[in-house]
Every structure is written in C-alpha cells, then in structure tokens.
Symmetry: C2
Subunit: 149 residues, 2 copies
C-alpha cells in the first residue's frame, strides 16, 4: 500500500473530517476561554452522564491520557470555572466523583447543537442498509484505532 493509492481516498476523507471536527472543538474552547483538554473532558463527562454512569477523577484522566497530577489540575480548572463539582463517592471515599454543572451542559449544547442537528439532518436521506454501512464503518474504525497498534 502506498500513500497515493486510490483505495485510500476514504481514509484521507476520514482524516480530513476528524481534523475539521477538531478545529470545531477548538473554536468552542477559544470562545469559552477553555483549553482543548477541558473541552474533551466536558464531552467525556456529558457522555458518561448521558449513559447514566458516574465518572471518577481517575477514570476521566485515564480516558484523556493524563496522569494523576494533570487530572487534579484539570478538575481544579473545571471546578474553578464552575463547570463541574467534586463529590466524594459515598461507597469508596477515596474516589472523587466529577459531576457536570447544568449550565456547562447548556453551554456545550449551544455550541455543538447546530453541528449535531446538521449531522442528524444529513442522516435523513439514507435507508436502513446505508445507515448500517455507516454504522459498521465507524465501529470498525473505532475498533481498529483502539487496543494494540
């Protein structure tokens, strides 16, 4: 396989799309005075909350690729900005649960809502088989990127 092979067209398109999504998040970060990592953290927290899962400081940092010191600093920043609250876990009091503030959720929704709406709109035109193809492709890429490499 060589970089100019035509079968790589979709790979390049995927990469370009990921880059564009990254810049979109960066604009949100700049607009709200946050750092890219803070935005990634908020997204992870909102996603966990959506899935009904509790998020601890440790798991959050691990998910973002930070060590414990960096994680503490991250949560400090988010807490100082009023975007999250620290809550000691009832069961295991060593753990710190990080809860997102409702206003932070609203802020994120305000920025990402239009994009999400446009993507949902996009999906309208596809039938079940096409949607299955898109879903299968994304899942495949996610698995291919995860784990060993």
């Amino acid at each position: 396989m060589r970089p100019q092979d035509p079968e790589l067209e979709l790979v390049h398109l995927l990469r370009a799309t990921v880059v564009e999504l990254g810049l979109h998040s960066a604009r949100f970060a700049a607009r709200t005075g946050m750092h890219p990592t803070d935005v990634r953290a908020l997204i992870a927290l909102m996603d966990a909350s959506r899935a009904g899962e509790e998020m601890t400081a440790g798991r959050l940092g691990a998910g973002l690729g930070l060590n414990s010191a960096g994680t503490t600093a991250l949560v400090d920043r988010l807490e100082r900005a009023g975007h999250v609250r620290r809550v000691r876990a009832a069961g295991d009091r060593r753990k710190v649960l990080v809860e997102v503030d409702e206003r932070a959720v609203a802020l994120g929704w305000e920025h990402f809502g239009p994009l999400i709406g446009r993507v949902v709109e996009l999906l309208r035109v596809y039938d079940e088989r096409e949607l299955a193809a898109i879903r299968g492709f994304l899942e495949g890429v996610r698995e291919a990127a995860g784990g060993e490499d």
Copy 2:
C-alpha cells in the same frame, strides 16, 4: 432534540470514533517523544506532500490553529528532531517552505500503516452504494463542522 434521542446514536458513535483516533495519535506521539501538535503537523505536511502542494510555515500554523510565534516554535521543534527542513521559497523569499524528511514519513507510515490497512480491509465488504453513503456522510460532517457555527 435532546441528548438521549435515539437518532443521536450515530452521532455518539462518530464522537467515540474520533476520540479513539485521537488516542491512537497520542500513542504515536508518546512513542516518538513528540507532542500531539507535532503529530498533527506531520500529518498535515504528509498530506500536502501527497497532494503535491508546497506547505509554508504560515499555512501550516493556520491549519493547526497556532499563531505565528507558536508556529515558529513548532517548526523549530520538528527541525531540531530532524523531521522537517526549512527552505526559503524561491519566488517569494519571505516565505519558508516546510519539507518533510523521508525518515519522518517512514516513521509515520510505520505507526499509521497498520491502522490504515485495517480500515481499507473494512471497506472491502461494501458495495458501491454503501461506499457512496459512507463517503457522503463523511463529506457532510466535514462541511457541517467547518465554516461558521
């Protein structure tokens, strides 16, 4: 539209996939002692080179969302590591062309090659209509994420 709406399933999957791809790049960065931004820069440079375009310091920095000072520092780092060369543009001698070193290309290919191979493999099972759906979706997302918001 609310965060738990079922039509958002694919949006969440897309986000999860992007996160996983980001972590994959981060592992490459850690392995080669580079910073995430350096990796993004190398990818941008390799892509421009693949497309047969010259890349100037300014356009590189703009593409990554850096200001001029940060761009200079970035190119300094990459040059010091031997990944790129600075070349004054022949036509307009204010411009600095940034050229990727062949060994950096090989290094990147070594890390991203397996992932790319797996994605190409993935695409094998789809027929033309399904591939068109995937392509259309990615292009749509890229456009939705770009520009105003």
